[in-house]
Amino acid sequence: MTTDTAPKPSFWNRLAHPGQFVALTRPLLWPLTIITAALFIAGLWFAFFNSPEDYQMGDTVRIMYIHVPTAWLSQFVYGIMAVSAIGSLVWRHPMADVSMKAAAPLGATFTALALFTGSLWGRPTWGTFWEWDGRMTSTLVLLLIYLGIVALWRAFDDQLRAARVIAVFTLVGAINIPIIKFSVDWWSTLHQPSSVFTMSGPHMPPSILTPLLVMAIAFTMLFLTLHLKAMHTEVARRRLMALQRQAAQTGKTA
């Protein structure tokens, strides 16, 4: 029964100190912003002026350039959260807590956007905004999980304690998401043997693939930029809350 402040590996040590993390990564913000903006400009140009309409889907293929990246991010961000959760539970890395918290609302937004663009795409191609299709439905469930996590963060008042608890829940969710995905697929084939439209695999012409890739990278960079900025804010907010608590307790106002 010994409690020592465990010595951490030195690389982590530097990143683990929130102040140092901010100092180390602040210079990255502007380059990231510029790269993101450039990628978006390129991607949008490809998307609107330099891509043929798909022989099968018509002009609506352009929705794909925003649908697929947001859909991809909806899963990627959860991955980031799960990895951060491990970091926070196993290594007790303070920045992992911060990363986990900053990612949740971003992930929720991208998931909502994937749903939004998907249903806008569904209307012209399938004739309906919403179909209880496996992929759509499991994305909806993912959104609900994200929103649950956001609500959970808001419900805790002590964010330090919140982090480890939410990490546990995030990991439970991470195990469960593949199960949900599988079960929903099973369910929708069970109920709807005829799928109107099967989402095409990656066999598409390069003229479509290029803008898609560029947009996907652009969105990912956008996420990284926003995530980093939000992490910096979160670090500041924690310091602020500690200061306020301390000020309240000691009664020092001057």
């Binding site: 008042d157 608590r245 309240a248 307790q249 000691t250 009664g251």
Partner: protein, 211 residues
Amino acid sequence: MTERQVFGSLALSAHALAVGRGGIALAQGLEFKVQNGKCLLLRGPNGVGKSTLLLTLAGIVEALDGSFKLEGPTSEDGPLLHYCGHRNAIKPRLSVLENLDFWAQLNGPTGAASLEALETVGLDHVAGLDAGYLSAGQGRRLALARLLVSARPLWLLDEPTAALDTEGHDLVTRLIDAHLEAGGLVVAATHDPITPTDPNRVETLVMAGIH
């Protein structure tokens, strides 16, 4: 009685009062009379019925037998008593000041201003803190501050010094002193030695149980 009489003339008297819980008497034949500026201390071992007596006087538990009455008040006076029980009635998610402000509004802000009351009990520096963060003794102090924000003549205090430090014991003594000085009435159950400065003002009722 005193020079600085703030409250109207009042007397709380009990005659052959029997109190108990669930129909079982804990104390019988209680007789006492408390007047303006007087303090009645209830003493006795654990479980003898001190809290029950206070709850009876507060009108929460029904008396089993006998009677007690508060003489003097006119019907327009509104509620005349403050009850301060074992539990502090603090909402953890409201700040200390918000907690107190609520009671000031609900009971009528007829006493000290909230901040002033907090200062008196030594909590002014945590006024903005969530009350859930208060330590046991700080919580007790907040409960005491509630007595100050609305002026009511009769205080029923159940172990007011519980969880308080030495300075807190002094605080309780000071508060009771001031209340008696202003012509208030105090009935307090306690295991700790609370001694209002003027021994003439104090009476002690030792409860012994009826076993």
